[in-house]
């Protein structure tokens, strides 16, 4: 059970605050939207957050200007 940062892509407007707060975890794509750094191998919508990044992830969720980020403990799954 790890912490995951869920990106609501519908709310996200690629403002980039989360990328600044989590530079090791997130990059920015051509249009400003966050890209999880381990690319296509990991989940890019429910981004795994290590213990050392927890504080910054909480800040990112709090500061996101579109409220597009949610930090949670359980692993949200795909739609069934």
């Amino acid at each position: 059970m790890s912490e995951t940062l869920h990106i609501d892509w519908i709310k996200c407007d690629g403002r980039g605050l989360c990328v600044e707060l989590l530079p090791e975890v997130l990059g920015r794509d051509d249009w400003g939207y966050p890209v999880a750094r381990w690319g296509s191998t990991g989940d890019r919508t429910n981004v795994a957050i290590g213990a050392s990044d927890l504080e910054a992830a909480r800040d990112a969720a709090k500061l996101c200007p579109k409220l597009a980020l949610t930090l949670s403990t359980s692993q949200p799954g795909k739609n069934h």
Binding site: D8, W9, I10, G14, W31, Y33, V35
Partner: protein, 417 residues
């Protein structure tokens, strides 16, 4: 849509062949009487949650495209019902939106065998103790479905809702969003539909063809279902054949070989350039020795997807064909998520350049980069499916790509300009 009449004529012809199909055994435009004559009565009262185990043994997978094990979806919804604080009664939706332009099997099924779908919906509803049932379909099938629902006492509480004719209208969360909120756009999937869907209730969305198979499994059992197909792909499926063939719906066994399917569709195999399998989010193949199966090694099988087989002749440029599709897919974006809204048009522009003769060698790398960029970054799988199609085209038609970049097209009628 003349396709449907043509589809039914083909099936009437095949009716004599042994066990060739079951879904349309009641004939065309089957009313309740013909339905009961062909399939026998249905004892709905005997269906309860234990039916989920029957489905598990049957090995039925979804016929809407994702090929998810159907029993798992029911089990998750049943569990969602138990977990919910107020023990909310689930909602079951028969999804007949069929947004894929190359697919017409669901419309055909709903128009000619609506009662089989209704049976399946009622059965699934009982298995998960649902309180609300919906059938979601486009305008062309609305009247028939409404009439079929209205003609049965046991189907009275089924609500029939119209779906818009957009590519993404069939996406599960878009279906739920339209039924619950009137907006046919995908929703963020942080909470699974099996936990919270329509009005916060556990929601089960099943393709209408899947429901038809459920109805037959309930009647004839697991053994019967598994006599067709193979261990890894039991039962039968409907496929929509189009392209260099008369548009038709065929019911084929699981794990069927593409060449066999196309041959029975009357396709001249010698003139096939390539086949698009699964639909616009599917894969291109050149070899027709592949079998249609959701499971199996990649050198033997191709995933059936939405059950689409679209034949490209050997005179058409496959890159131009793919570019047209990707342009369409970009236009069908819900425009909610950045990577899709901006990434898909960017991919379409690059693919257009390659298809229409731009010799810049960096184009392929750029297209691959964009494909990797959009995958898994959106509320739905529209960007992933589009990237998959593009990746498949680049791989299957690598020779054509090379030719285009060198200034020529391999197709006989080909012109790169």
């Amino acid at each position: 849509m003349t396709t449907l009449d043509a589809a039914m004529q083909t099936m009437e012809k095949d009716r004599g062949a042994e066990g060739n199909y079951q879904l349309f055994a009641a004939g065309s435009n089957a009313g309740m009487a013909a339905h009961e004559l062909a399939f026998g009565p249905l004892s709905l009262d005997r269906v309860d949650a234990s039916f989920i185990q029957v489905l598990e043994k049957s090995g039925l997978t979804g016929r809407g495209g994702a090929a998810f094990a159907s029993w798992k979806k029911l089990a998750a919804t049943d569990q969602g019902r138990g977990d919910a604080r107020l023990s909310a009664k689930p909602v079951v939706i028969g999804n007949g939106a069929e947004g894929e332009p190359l697919s017409f099997k669901d419309k055909t099924l709903l128009i000619h065998a609506p009662h089989l779908v209704i049976d399946g919906l009622l059965i699934a509803g009982r298995a998960v103790s649902a309180s609300q049932l919906y059938i979601y379909t486009t305008e062309v099938a609305m009247a028939v479905v409404e009439s079929a629902v209205g003609s049965r006492r046991d189907a009275r509480r089924i609500k029939v809702v119209q779906a818009p004719e957009t590519f993404i209208s069939g996406e599960a969360s878009a279906v739920v969003n339209n039924i619950a909120n009137g907006s046919a756009l995908p929703m963020d999937n942080r909470r699974r539909l099996s936990e919270s869907g329509v009005k916060g209730r556990p929601t089960l969305v099943l393709n209408v063809e899947t429901l038809a198979h459920v109805a037959l499994i309930a009647r004839h059992g697991v053994g019967w279902f598994r006599t067709a197909g193979s261990d890894r792909d039991p039962g039968t499926r409907l496929v929509s054949v189009s392209g260099q063939a008369a548009e038709q719906v065929l019911e084929v066994e699981g794990d069927a070989r593409i060449s066999d399917i196309l041959a029975s569709a009357g396709v001249d195999l010698g003139r096939v350039g390539a086949v698009l399998v699964g639909g616009y989010h599917g894969q291109w193949v050149r070899s027709m020795e592949y079998r249609l199966s959701p499971m199996g090694p990649g050198d033997q099988v191709v995933r059936p997807g939405a059950g689409v087989l679209h034949v490209l002749s050997d005179t058409e440029c496959p890159l131009v064909a793919t570019a047209r599709i990707v342009g369409y897919l970009a236009g069908e974006s819900a425009r909610q998520c950045g990577p899709c809204m901006f990434g898909l048009p960017a991919m379409a522009r690059v693919l257009d350049a390659i298809a229409y003769g731009d010799p810049d060698p960096r184009l392929v790398g750029e297209l691959e980069r964009l494909g990797r960029l959009v995958g898994g970054r959106g509320a739905c799988h529209h960007p992933d499916g589009t990237a998959r199609l593009v990746g498949s085209a680049l791989e299957t038609f690598s020779a054509d790509v090379k030719a285009h970049l060198a200034g020529s097209c391999t197709r006989k009628s080909g012109r790169t300009a």
